[in-house]
């Protein structure tokens, strides 16, 4: 069993609700174990706040194993903190040093309004998926799965795009608050598979339209999204989405 010996200063964004203005508040923490996850460190902070009669910090989290996409802290200027390819819940305190000051803010984007403290509203992502991120196949419509062989390379590429967890780190880190990495990952997954072909061009147009409607910014090829994505989603997806988007303009029968 590890015993903790790290002393830290946290500067945490506190904001009562979406209408109020927020500010960074300092908290001192001691005896933190390097084996704790970043969120477990927040559990310790909250336990202390509750015992002191103060309001604990609200933050989103659920599975704590890096797959649900719910946790969403902007740590020292990076979504999910300093380590590559992990979510906040999989970031451990051994990635920090005794005596560090850590600044923790919510995702910041026009399309992701702050709800309270570190929790933001990411329902815009759901609406983008609802606009076309699916294959229109009702339950019971399917043929035998092996009637449709799919080359392994294609299936693997689709899987890699499908690994997106919808956390929104790409938006949070982008200077334009663009959602292109997220949107293009879903478009790519389905564009790479034969099942996605019938609606391919309709899909790209309606999802991009919804993305714009939600107030996400444009892509200027900075590449921060790819660098910060905890699942390593590739920028190639954005190129593929753009190709399909432009192709769609020339395919009249598929126009939305």
């Amino acid at each position: 069993m590890s015993t903790g010996n790290m002393n830290l200063t946290l500067q945490v964004w506190r904001q009562k609700n979406k209408n109020s203005t927020g500010k960074l508040v300092d908290y001192k923490l001691s005896d933190i174990s390097p084996d704790m996850s970043f969120l477990e460190m927040f559990d310790v902070l909250n336990e202390q706040l509750i015992n002191k009669g103060e309001e604990p910090v609200v933050f989103d989290h659920d599975c704590r194993e890096g797959i649900c996409g719910m946790c969403s802290m902007f740590i020292n200027g990076q979504p999910h903190g300093p380590k590559d390819l992990v979510t906040t819940c999989q970031l451990h305190m051994r990635s920090f040093k005794d005596g560090d000051t850590i600044v923790v803010e919510p995702w910041r984007a026009k399309a992701f309004p702050v709800i309270k403290d570190l929790a933001v509203d990411r329902s815009a992502f759901d609406r983008v998926i609802a606009a076309g991120g699916f294959v229109s196949v009702n339950t019971g419509n399917a043929q035998d799965a092996n009637n449709l062989p799919i080359p392994k390379a294609k299936a693997d590429a689709a899987f890699e795009a499908a690994a997106c967890i919808g956390c929104g780190a790409c938006v949070a880190t982008c200077k334009n608050a663009s959602a292109m990495l997220f949107v293009s990952a879903k478009i790519s997954q389905l564009a790479l598979l034969p099942q996605g072909q019938p609606e391919r061009y309709r899909r790209v147009q309606s999802m991009v339209a919804q993305m714009d409607e939600e107030g996400f910014g444009n892509c200027t090829n900075t590449g921060a999204c790819e660098a910060e994505c905890p699942k390593g989603i590739s920028l190639e997806n954005i190129a593929r989405m753009n190709r399909d988007y432009f192709s769609a303009k020339f395919i009249s029968e598929e126009e939305v």
Binding site: M1, G4, N17, S33, D35, M36, S37, E40, D43, V44, E47, I50, N51, G53, E54, P56, V58, H61, D62, C63, R64, E65, G66, C68, G69, M70, V86, Q90, H92, R94, K116, A119, R122, S123, D126, I129, G133, F134, V135, V137, N138, T139, A142, Q143, A145, N146, L148, P149, P151, K152, A155, D156, A158, F159, A162, I165, G166, Q189, L193, Q195
Partner: protein, 659 residues
């Protein structure tokens, strides 16, 4: 006993579901449009049901407490989903999947339900592939399979270590499609806090908007709960932090019987606890047992590094005890065997509560095959390990990364340390063949119900059951009820039953906020978890369970006198959410102990130390306990037992043998 009619259709086992489907009353499309169904939960069972019901034409409202339906904890399932496709030509069949599941469940599941599950399993794979779920494929473009515990065929379909994620995103996309078309109204960040019963039928729910704190009344002709399992009663489990029993417990208190609450699955391969700060445990998929060999040193308290312990000083205890199934015995058997070794003093790591899961032998074997493919028939060991590591990485890369992240160790170089942890609950709301609880119009699907896994669930069967219930079973069976309800008009939510239910919820919230005690909700949750793990965990006995019941009752009193819930009711207040959940876990914990105490036998995940064979295997008592224990709530700490006898007409009941 009249209340416990399982409504299993007559006829031969293999024909029951087919005949049921062709004779179940239908609701015509025009009527469907005016029938409203509430679905609570958006995991595999909830999302698939909500999407399918909407496709059929019903008006659906779906609720989840997360910020998006895509986050439900089904997403974390790693290893795979079973289906009797027999694509590997290795002798699989519907009957064999049925048989393996009944046997794996230690002969405590209902034959008719399990056979139906096996029948629809193949349709699930077809449906998911049609949705664009990227399941793993062979070079020929066809679907790949792997092995899971408790079977001798390869029937598990998978998507690397993210099968649950990919299947859930499939169901989520189907759900979002219906939301986009306006056929499902989605309520995210909403938590169901009570069911509304009018004239004996479930007619709606009270839900709290978790952002504004507002209590909302929602009417439905029927209510479906797909709200998952209750493993978090142990505080530490592989469940998500928010996974809870509240919706199921509220309906239990309104009359729905709770089936086999003590049947808990302790998963053998999880990352061990590292300290008191631990908030959850992380699973390492059972699929790893395909290629990992489990061992401990033959010498007690061996201080050497695993790599320094030679082959002949290692005890591959699963291979030793169970030569036929080896490392692929079912979960309950593997967990108890790990506990036995650690209790006997052979555990490894700092806490001595861990065993090794070692990939070296198979890495080398894969490396040899790869070298051979490249024309090198005499590769040296280093080449084998290098090539083999690439194969292992492709199969399990994300799991190995996760392990490295959490422990700070590199599992490609040193064996993983693993220990059993609470993972799944086979118990749940009692349902009949139609998946209806003892409250008419209230259905329960997926892990939240008790129905298909008996006393132990086989690996890769939870995803199968969740999707079977939601895509292929409930959409048919609910028609049987709703077809009799077509003339019922939507009931206005100012009906006294709605008002009363809402007032009760409000009173509970006010009570939480007014106690203003000295200890946080988590404090009580951890203490409850400790009692449950020590006395109602992997091994149970009369004395411990009797003590636990008393301790939980004391804990409940203390909770209601001394809990501190900060903040107010009309805001986003996660501590208030947790207070509801922990209050319900405390009551459930007591019932689990009562059930475990009542069941004077060992079966599957329920191991009573008083009832074991000479070799330490679970010893069932089929004469006295071949029944489902369905508990009726009768007031504080009072539960009445109802029995549903289990009849095996197609399977010969035997002691499980994996030797």
């Amino acid at each position: 006993m009249s209340k416990l009619n399982s409504n299993i259709p007559a006829g031969e086992l293999t024909q029951k579901w087919t005949k049921y489907k062709s004779s179940v009353p239908l609701v015509n499309p025009a009527n469907k449009r005016s029938i409203e169904v509430i679905v609570v939960g958006s995991g595999l069972a909830g999302a698939s049901a909500a999407a399918t019901l909407a496709e059929m034409g019903y008006k659906v409202k779906c609720f989840c407490f997360q910020d998006s339906p895509r986050r439900a904890h089904s997403i974390a399932a790693q290893g795979g989903i079973n289906a009797a496709k027999n694509y590997q030509n290795d002798g699989d069949s519907t009957y064999r999947l049925f048989y393996d599941t009944i046997k794996g469940g230690d002969y405590r599941a209902r034959e008719a339900n399990v056979h139906r599950l096996a029948e629809v399993s193949a349709n699930i794979i077809d449906q998911c592939v049609a949705q664009g779920v990227p399941l793993a494929r062979e070079y020929g473009g066809l679907l790949d399979n792997r092995s899971f515990g408790g079977t001798q065929v390869q029937r598990t379909f998978y998507a690397a270590g993210q099968t649950g994620q990919q299947l859930l995103l499939g169901a989520y996309s189907a759900l979002e499609r219906q939301i986009g078309m306006g056929k499902v109204e989605m309520y995210t960040r909403h938590e169901m806090l009570d069911v509304v019963i009018i004239d004996g039928k479930a007619r709606g729910i009270i839900a709290r908007n978790l952002i504004t704190g507002e209590l909302e009344r929602h009417f439905g002709h029927a209510v479906v709960l797909g709200t998952g399992g209750y493993g978090n009663v142990f505080y530490l489990s592989t469940n998500a932090m928010g996974s809870n029993v509240t919706a199921a417990w509220k309906v239990h208190k309104k009359g729905a019987f709770f089936g086999n609450p003590c049947y808990t699955q302790i998963h053998p391969t999880c990352i061990p606890v590292s300290g008191d700060h631990q908030s959850k445990l992380t699973l390492m998929s059972e699929s790893l047992r395909n290629d990992g060999r489990i061992w401990v040193p033959k010498k007690k308290d061996d201080p050497r590094k695993p790599s320094d312990i030679p082959e002949d000083e290692r005890d591959y205890y699963l291979e030793r005890r169970y030569p036929a199934f080896g490392n692929l015995v079912p979960r309950d058997v593997a967990s108890r065997a790990a506990k036995e070794r650690c209790d006997a003093g052979y555990g490894v790591g700092a806490s001595k509560l861990a065993v090794y899961l070692d990939f070296k032998a198979n890495t080398e074997r894969y490396g040899k095959i790869e070298a051979s493919k490249a024309g090198n028939h005499n590769p040296d060991k280093e080449t084998c390990m290098r090539l083999g590591t690439a194969v292992i990485k492709e199969k399990y890369g994300n799991l190995f990364d996760m392990y490295a992240q959490i422990t700070g160790e590199n599992p490609y170089e040193t064996p993983m340390r693993i220990y059993p942890a609470v993972h799944y609950t086979m118990g749940g709301l009692w349902v009949d063949y139609d998946l209806m609880t003892t409250i008419p119009g209230l259905y329960c699907t997926g892990e939240a119900n008790f129905s298909d896994h008996g006393a132990n669930r086989l690996g890769a069967s939870a995803l199968m059951q969740g999707l079977a219930d939601g895509y292929f079973v409930l959409p048919y069976t609910i028609g049987s009820y709703l077809s009799k309800d077509i003339s019922t008009k939507a009931i206005p939510t100012d009906h006294p039953a709605f008002v009363e239910a809402e007032n009760n919820v409000r009173a509970t919230i006010d009570k939480f906020l007014s106690i203003n005690g000295t200890k946080s909700v988590d404090h009580f949750h951890k203490r409850l978890g400790h009692i449950m793990w020590e006395k109602c965990g992997m091994a149970r006995n009369r004395e411990g369970l009797t003590e636990a019941i008393k301790e939980i009752q004391d804990l409940r009193r203390e909770f209601w006198a001394d809990v501190k819930v900060p903040g107010s009711a009309d805001e986003f207040n996660p501590e208030l959410e947790k207070a509801h959940r922990v209050a319900d876990f405390i009551e459930l914990g007591e019932l689990m102990c009562i059930d475990a105490l009542n069941r004077e036998e060992s079966c599957g995940g329920h191991f009573r130390e008083e009832h074991q064979t000479e070799e330490g295997e679970a010893k069932r008592d089929d004469v006295n306990f071949a029944y489902v224990a369905a508990w009726e709530y009768k007031g504080e700490s009072t539960f009445e037992l109802h029995k549903e006898e289990l009849n095996y007409e197609n399977i010969k009941v035997a002691q499980r043998n994996y030797k």
